[in-house]
Subunit: 184 residues, 2 copies
Amino acid sequence: MSLEHAILGFLNYAPMTGYDLKKAFDTSVRHFWPADQAQIYRTLKELTRRGWVTVEVVPQEDRPNRKVYHLTDAGREELRRWLRAPSDPEDPRVPLLVKVFFAGQLADEEAVALLEGYAAGLRARLEEYARIPQQAAHYAEAVRSPREVFFWALTLDYGVRLTRAALEWAEETIRHIRNLEEES
Amino acid sequence: MSLEHAILGFLNYAPMTGYDLKKAFDTSVRHFWPADQAQIYRTLKELTRRGWVTVEVVPQEDRPNRKVYHLTDAGREELRRWLRAPSDPEDPRVPLLVKVFFAGQLADEEAVALLEGYAAGLRARLEEYARIPQQAAHYAEAVRSPREVFFWALTLDYGVRLTRAALEWAEETIRHIRNLEEES
DNA sequence: GTATAATATATGACCAGTCATATAATACCA
DNA sequence: TGGTATTATATGACTGGTCATATATTATAC
């Protein structure tokens, strides 16, 4: 399960609270692995039970106590085991394709509208991706580990390439449908 | 929810049992929307409750009775409503990228092995996709609705393009890591 | 003769993830 | 003065999906 291991991965950088972890997810892997706050806290409990992390309660007066989680040796071992383990190749679920599959029920203009909406979402996504490097720049400087930064950048590259491929498909498909219309 | 509506979509082609539906899923949309048998039966129950489908029990002597489900007018309306409704653009979860994100913990050869395993899975997927047109040929003939066949083909085209894009990313990334190794 | 596949429906247990909400203090803005 | 944001943890209810298994008959393969 990815959430568990992503948490181990973050705690391997530095000890953190559930709250910190939520922010870490939201500013890094959220585009390919969003994490729900409730799920993070419940997973931390489970990871503690398994001995992969330990808790250190840091009392605070002005705000709620912090529960700082530390990766244990067993946890670090599990992280590396998971990283090396083969992942089974599952095709990702694509809700849009379910609509496309049954789009024969729609008129041509309606099918085009469906694809235009999808394409608009993809373009917005690409714009968001384009803003990431600047946002990440100060991070990369702070971390000062070019090796880590290299792998982080790979995930963005993947996102851009796949989104572009999907957009090209959508645009060509729209053109295709419009051509069929003209011919008839 | 896609499963519900996919079932409505199939029942719009023809009345069917849960068993038939399972086969329909497995021979068409399984690459982007796999359906569990238990989930199909439970969803049919729910769709009946909502009045989108009706059941007709067809007694059989030699094997279990068939419960043939029929799409109602309300169900057909719901199918078209769903097809026309905008789908919110969510980035798909990509478990591999979680590993890549934390791959700084691995040695270069290990990171390459991770990507090689992924690439192998993608190549197998492309080979499977390449076999689909022949498999679907007799279907397309039987259906005799070129419009339906056109939309079905679009979903395959999407799969091929996205898988190729992912494979290119993986292959270029592998080369990239190997180049870095040589330089050092 | 024995095992497995196909036809057909169904339930129980479980899992990961989502959404809403609770608590409680401080800070800041209008 | 009221409303929202930030810090911080936690629970309850729910949803969609997975896995294993039960039942019962016929057909086919080894």
